[in-house]
Symmetry: C2
Subunit: 137 residues, 2 copies
């Protein structure tokens, strides 16, 4: 049976406050402000448990480690910033994509990731137009 521990609460809260999908390590960093001794293994165990429980959803972007977000938003997609690499929710959807599949194939679902610059990074670029010497990451 599921217990309510300081650790579990801190993990849930960290994700709720972030408002965007977090990596296990990001969850640890955020939750440690509430529970200093928190270990990464506990974070992994709780993320898995909460996901199984239906409280969290696993967000798997191509080539990225899994992130976790609160369930609650229904069908939606994600945007990853090419600069800061953070991931954001996109509450829009191209809609019916069934016509994209080859003949004879049936489309039941889809997964879409947008890439570009988030508003913060876009603003930074606008203010300081790129010089050829600018290199990030």
């Amino acid at each position: 049976m599921e217990r309510s521990t300081r650790q579990r609460t801190a993990i849930r809260d960290a994700i709720a406050e972030a408002g965007r999908p977090l990596l296990p390590q990001e969850v640890l960093d955020a939750a440690q402000s509430q529970v200093p001794g928190l270990g990464i293994a506990t974070v992994y165990r709780n993320l898995k448990a909460l996901a199984l429980d239906g409280e969290l959803r696993t967000v798997e972007l191509p080539g990225e480690n899994p992130r976790y977000e609160l369930v609650g938003h229904g069908h939606h997609h994600h945007f990853q910033c090419n600069v800061c690499e953070r991931v954001f929710d996109v509450h829009a959807c191209p809609g019916d994509l069934s016509k994209l599949a080859p003949r004879g194939f049936t489309v039941e679902d889809h997964d879409l990731t947008l890439y570009g610059k988030c508003s913060d990074c876009q603003r930074a670029v606008d203010k300081a137009p790129a010089r050829s010497s600018d290199k990030r990451l």
Copy 2:
């Protein structure tokens, strides 16, 4: 400068013959029939080099380890069958998705994966209609 070695040739051939995106381990298994002593590190090094070189493309599906396929088709997407789990190329594209992003965000690229039933598995379902006891995964 790029050399032509037995190993590199075997790796390239393995992927060419497969005709679908392969995992590094699958590449190793296939290429070892040509070069028995082939090591996994060499496979990784060559996959990376060939991808950098523009010969191979990395196919990263959500929650899956990276696969590699021959370049040749330009921008395209993938379809994964919910039944047989095989991955197919989709040579269609929803096009401009920039309006889906939140205000202030700039869309530069996108990644799309369709899920459903491939023609083979769809045909199988049509012939043998699902019973309520049928459960997958």
